[in-house]
């Protein structure tokens, strides 16, 4: 019996630049594989991302959900908000379970056991799964180039278990495993793992990109590019968590833009054909990191010297993207020009922003 050729889906790229109409596009598909009624927090960044991602993917899709807040909050009491097949897997099994699904469809379609176009196979792993316990399994799936999209919805912590530090938690971020105290005034002392670059560098045949819920059209287009890429694709998406970051609920999308404008979350694509980074995404503004930090309770303990360290880190990120630094940002990396978060002037600044 001859093998049956596997038919792949091609999803159209939404015609909108990443500037201007960031939130509205008439070409958006009407399908809603991720329906309302789940139990995530108000303003939950990961679930906003989940909706955009599944909307971009459409109905011929299978979702894989390793343990994390998007497992527990979305599927409590045996109810789930998925209009497409979804399976839970273990937190360390993100890449491997997904690889199993993809391999099954390759074999079943080829052997005539399942008929139809190869489904979109998407794994939604939190950063705990993606950067720590499931890292090897994801690397395995990317290396073997299964036709699937693995997403790290990055809320920079283990949120499901009550806010613990992951290797994506930023320097200075307060979590229950990295609390500030007299001996550790900055709270988390380590800088985050550069996860997405690690995936691009180690698996250069894969489509790899970063995105943020602050730029929905860009995010959805990257989902589609990842799905259209024949082989494995990887997205790391900034998804703020109001429970862990401690911010005003309506500001999730604002944070999603500020984190990019402050240089703390570089947005780029890795082009697997050209084997090079594409840094053409430009936020509208470039701001000092303090504008992002001051909106979040998790950074409320930071001293000027810690903010300066974070600014230095952000400036390095801009440089890595080949972007010229304005003088103001260079100045902002000097502690002399900064104030502690817990000062009256800082509190006033926060009050003004809100």
């Amino acid at each position: 019996m001859p093998a049956i050729e596997v038919e792949r889906q091609i999803l159209p790229i939404l015609g909108s630049p990443n500037q201007g109409a960031r939130f509205y596009n008439p070409d958006l598909p009407s399908s809603e594989p991720f329906v309302p009624g789940h139990r995530t927090c108000a303003g939950c960044g990961p679930s906003i991302q989940y909706r955009m991602t599944s909307k971009a993917a459409g109905d011929n899709t299978i979702l894989v959900g390793p343990t994390g807040c998007m497992y527990v909050a979305n599927s409590s009491y045996l109810c789930t908000p998925y209009n497409v097949p979804w399976a839970h897997t273990q937190i360390g099994s993100a890449g491997s379970f997904t690889a199993g699904v993809a391999a099954a469809y390759e074999a079943m379609i080829r052997k005539g056991k399942w008929k139809g176009a190869f489904p979109n196979i998407i794994c939604e792993a939190g950063d705990g799964s993606a950067s720590d316990i499931g890292l090897a399994s994801i690397s395995g799936a990317l290396y073997r180039n299964h036709d699937c999209l693995i997403i790290c919805y990055d809320n920079e912590q283990y949120a499901n278990t009550g806010i613990q530090a992951s290797s994506r938690t930023p320097y200075g971020g307060m979590t229950t495993f990295s609390p500030p105290g007299p001996m550790v005034p900055e709270a988390k002392t380590l800088f985050p793992k550069d996860l997405a670059r690690m995936m691009a560098a180690g698996h250069p045949h894969c489509y790899v990109a970063t995105a943020s819920v602050g730029y929905p059209i860009d995010l959805m287009n990257k989902v589609r590019k990842g799905l259209n890429h024949k082989g494995a694709a990887y997205l790391m998406i900034y998804t703020p968590c109001q429970k862990g970051f401690v911010y005003e609920t309506p500001r999730s999308i604002d944070l999603g833009r500020l984190v990019v404008e402050c240089g703390l979350y570089p947005i780029w694509e890795w082009n697997p054909e050209k084997r090079e980074y594409d840094y053409s995404f430009r936020p509208q503004n470039m701001r000092p990191v303090s504008e992002y930090l001051k909106l979040q309770g998790r950074f409320g303990h930071l001293h000027a010297e810690h903010i300066a360290k974070l600014q230095t880190f952000a400036n390095q990120q801009w440089k890595m993207m080949g972007i010229e630094l304005p003088e103001a940002l260079i100045q902002a990396a000097d502690a002399k020009n900064l104030v502690n978060m817990a000062t009256a002037s800082a509190a006033e600044a926060v009050a003004q922003t809100l």
Binding site: M1, P2, A3, I4, D59, N60, T61, I62, V64, Y71, V72, S75, S76, Y77, L78, C79, T80, Y82, N83, V84, P85, W86, A87, H88, T89, Q90, G92, S93, G95, S96, F97, T98, A99, G100, V101, A103, A104, Y105, E106, A107, M108, R110, K111, G112, K113, W114, G116, P119, A136, S137, S139, G140, Y143, R144
Partner: protein, 402 residues
């Protein structure tokens, strides 16, 4: 390329590992998840070659760990593919997290195990502790004693595990080296016979975009009891299916196995060995010799340990005066301070009106061969107990005592 080459029945001389690979090929598996660890590796080597030669159309995945092997298998089985994986020793342990999720989601993943002693230290020899440590995770489990039986068990396990009345994963075990690396004659069937015996895998609720379902949503404690009860019932329900499938197998392939125990020279026996796996081959030899010298000795070999045939073990072992359990596993600090089989045997005998004396023999530890002299020594301990009418010492470490 899809393979549907018709093959005719033939006898080949292969080892247990290759017999397992042959069974996977006959079962036309769709996804294979491999990771190397001795001694089971040879099974995956054989399958890799079959895929490379175009004899088997399957996705052959070299996983990054045993944890990933089992997760890949879980994902593939959940999608509707027939899956084959395997491991040995500490590899079986590395994947431990997945055993309960796989049986809990009722995915009939098949795993071949060629036993290997757990670390420390790095010992290649066969000891059953690796697989037995997972015995309560909801997997069907049993041991073969030679390559032919291993081949047959794989086919039967797929049929049993994939039965909609069961839907449970299976560990098809064989001793490392004693079975996995010893060649013997294995009859490979006509592909038509296998087609008749083993229908294609069809899970009732796969991950299929046309019929969306959710697998494994989170529950609250009050939702736990019914879910656990269902899994327990699946295991109980497997009993009837296992018997049915063994009958069907005998009809189609002409080899009849008792699904639960093999009895060897037990008709008038006073004392019997109770064991699992490859050491049965030596035991038969030793028993024949002892019978020549007038000793009424026999053997009961457990073929299926999960589901455990409690009533059958009770009924069979109640016929004898003394039962000597040959453990080949570690149950440190357990009931007998020896292995775990002793407790399983004694619990089955608790309600017996004619309880035999039960001894536990720690033999073959670390994968050392149990030689004829050791069988004779164990038989001597059993007949001494029979004469005394009571146990003086519950657990004997064979080779360390007079």
């Amino acid at each position: 390329m899809a393979t549907a080459t018709e093959v005719k029945k033939r006898t080949v001389r292969i080892n247990g590992c290759v017999a397992s690979a042959q069974a996977a090929k006959y079962a036309d598996v769709d996804v294979i998840a491999a990771y190397p660890i001795r001694p089971y590796t040879a099974t995956m080597m054989a399958l890799a070659q079959m895929v490379a030669n175009g004899e088997l159309d399957a996705e052959y995945i070299v996983a990054d760990s045993e944890h990933s092997q089992l997760s890949i298998s879980h994902g593939a089985s959940s999608s509707g593919a027939r899956v084959f994986t395997g491991s040995s020793g500490v590899g079986v342990q590395f994947a431990y997290e997945l055993y309960s999720p796989i049986s809990g989601s009722r995915m009939p993943v098949q795993m071949m195990i060629a036993d290997r002693t757990l670390d420390p230290p790095g010992d290649f020899g066969s000891e059953h502790t690796d697989a037995l440590s997972t015995r309560d995770m909801g997997w069907l489990m049993g041991w073969a004693c030679d390559a032919q039986e291993a081949f047959d068990n794989h086919l039967m396990a797929y049929r049993i595990g994939e039965d909609p009345r069961v839907l449970l994963p299976q560990m098809v075990c064989q001793d490392g080296f004693f079975v996995s690396h010893i060649t013997s004659d294995v009859e490979l069937p006509d592909s038509g016979q296998v087609k008749e015996f083993l229908p294609p895998y069809k899970h009732p609720y796969p991950l299929d975009p046309r019929h969306p379902v959710s697998h494994g949503p989170q529950i609250m404690p009050e939702q736990g009891p019914p879910l656990q009860l269902e899994r327990a019932r699946a295991m109980e329900g497997a009993v009837a299916v296992i018997e049915e499938v063994h009958d069907e197998f005998a009809k189609i392939f002409g080899r009849r196995y008792d699904p639960w125990v093999e009895e060897y020279m037990t008709d008038d026996a006073d004392v019997v060995f109770f064991l699992q796996g490859g050491h049965a081959v030596t035991a038969r030899f030793a028993i024949k010799h002892m019978r020549d010298n007038g000793l009424k000795v026999g053997m009961v070999r457990l073929r299926t340990i999960r589901p455990y045939p409690t009533d059958r073990v009770n009924e069979v072992l109640s016929k004898f005066k003394v039962v000597g359990v040959i453990e080949t596993n570690m149950g440190l600090g357990s009931v007998s301070s020896g292995g775990v089989l002793y407790g399983e045997v004694c619990a089955a005998l608790y309600e017996s009106q004619h309880k035999p004396l039960v001894l536990s023999f720690m033999a073959g530890m670390g994968g050392e061969a149990i030689v004829l002299d050791e069988f004779y020594w164990m038989a001597k301990k059993m007949t001494e107990a029979q004469k005394r009418g009571k146990i003086e010492k519950r657990t004997h470490w064979v080779g360390f005592e007079e």
